[in-house]
């Protein structure tokens, strides 16, 4: 623990222990808000901010808090952080806030956040905890955005629709129509479509992962096997 390996933290949070695709925490917002890329991006950013702030705060208050009261303290820190983010979003990205609705306050209940506070931030130095919050948040956000993109393309045939919700007037012309004249496919928009798409994503990640491991292992196989063939 003397030297923090930030590369390792990033790889763990984004790929190996990805909250949405491997640990499977926080699925409720993941499935509910991933119907368009912009919604997914909005919630992903909000969750990432929350994770970074709570991880940092938890790590900073580590010397002050006795272990027996740490869980209520985490809950307090997380709830306060999310409320601050909610107020700020309400003031500056009002339309997006209205679209995401209840899922902003519900970030509080995303178990991934208290999970990181307990499993990582409470045992590590502030900078490492901040990096972990960033990595895990990025991993969750990426899973959200990819899922959102898949569902939006299949559901509407577009990408970045309603970008003005997140980016203001600047995003009004961002919508990309990939399949012109596409009649929307309802299933992708509904909860079953979210589950099916998530299942495919998890399978895809596992496949990529297995292939990576195989490739890393290959040279050994070749060394061992080539003389024989």
């Amino acid at each position: 623990m003397s030297k923090t390996n930030y590369r390792e933290i990033l790889a763990e949070g984004v790929w190996r222990q990805n909250t949405g695709l491997v640990v499977l925490l926080g699925l409720c917002p993941l499935l509910a808000v991933s119907n368009t890329v912009i919604n997914a991006l909005g919630l992903g950013l909000a969750t990432m901010m929350t994770l970074m702030i709570t991880n940092l705060t938890v790590s900073l208050t580590r010397p002050l808090l006795r272990p027996e009261v740490r869980i209520p303290a985490y809950v307090l820190i997380i709830a306060a952080t999310v409320t601050v983010i909610e107020l700020i979003m309400k003031a500056w990205t009002h339309d997006l806030y209205r679209t995401l609705g209840i899922f902003i306050p519900l970030i509080v209940t995303n178990c991934a956040i208290i999970g990181r506070a307990e499993a990582f931030a409470s045992r590590n130095r502030p900078l490492a905890a901040l990096a972990d919050g960033f990595a895990v948040g990025l991993g969750f956000g990426l899973a959200l955005v990819v899922l959102g993109a898949v569902r939006e393309v299949i559901g509407h045939g577009t990408l970045f629709r309603q970008a003005e919700l997140l980016l203001g007037p600047w995003g009004e012309n961002m919508q990309v129509t990939l399949l012109p004249g596409y009649d929307s496919f309802l299933l992708a928009m509904l909860p079953p479509g979210a589950f099916i798409a998530l299942g495919c994503l998890v399978a895809g990640r596992n496949w990529l992962n297995a292939r990576n491991i195989e490739e890393q292992a290959k040279p050994e196989f070749e060394q061992a096997g080539s003389p024989a063939t």
């Binding site: 208050t61 002050l64 808090l65 006795r66 027996e68 009261v69 209520p72 303290a73 307090l76 820190i77 709830a79 306060a80 409320t83 601050v84 107020l87 700020i88 309400k90 003031a91 500056w92 009002h94 339309d95 209205r98 929307s184 309802l186 928009m189 509904l190």
Partner: protein
Amino acid sequence: MTDNSESSASMLRSGLSLGLLALLATALLSLVYWWTQPRIAEQERRQLLLQLEQVLPAERFNNGMHEDYIDVSSQLAFPGGQQVRIFRARQDGMPTAAVFRLVVPDGYNGRIKLLIGILASGQISGVRVLDHHETPGLGDKIEIQRSDWILSFNGKSLVNPEKPGWTVKRDGGEFDQFTGATITPRAVIRAVRRTLEYFEGNRQAIFDRPTEFQPQADAPESEDV
């Protein structure tokens, strides 16, 4: 004995540290609330005005319509025991239109929030759905983003069409139904008709009652429409 006093000392320390944390969190939240509140109120006002202007063109009024409203309830016209907010539009003090914000309780999938603009002549200037939980792809065609259906109310009144025409075509009326969803449009049509009838019967009172808006009330509007 020493054990006991030690454990109570540690309990006290735990409690105090939690209390301190709670105090800090509360202070932070108050600060952020105080900082964002004017902007949030401004955003909500802008949002409301944008919605109102969707059902009533801005050139039809020059009063602060979003601040000129009354709350009414009527079991007959607005079932479900709801409070309906009526915004009054005036041009140089003369009443030009009223915009009703109400809930249709009997949608296919629960409540549908509607905004209905009615000109002083009794004609509808516009209807919009603010919020609903109808089936995506079927009942959600009541949204302006999904279909033009909601525009078919424009220009309608109690006599155009006459009462039998105020339903979907399948029931012999003048309004289109959606493939696979008849309950949703039926409910919306009924609610619009009832609102027109209420307007006809209470026209004088609607425009004469003093506004219920209180400028000094800085609390944000609780209703999340």
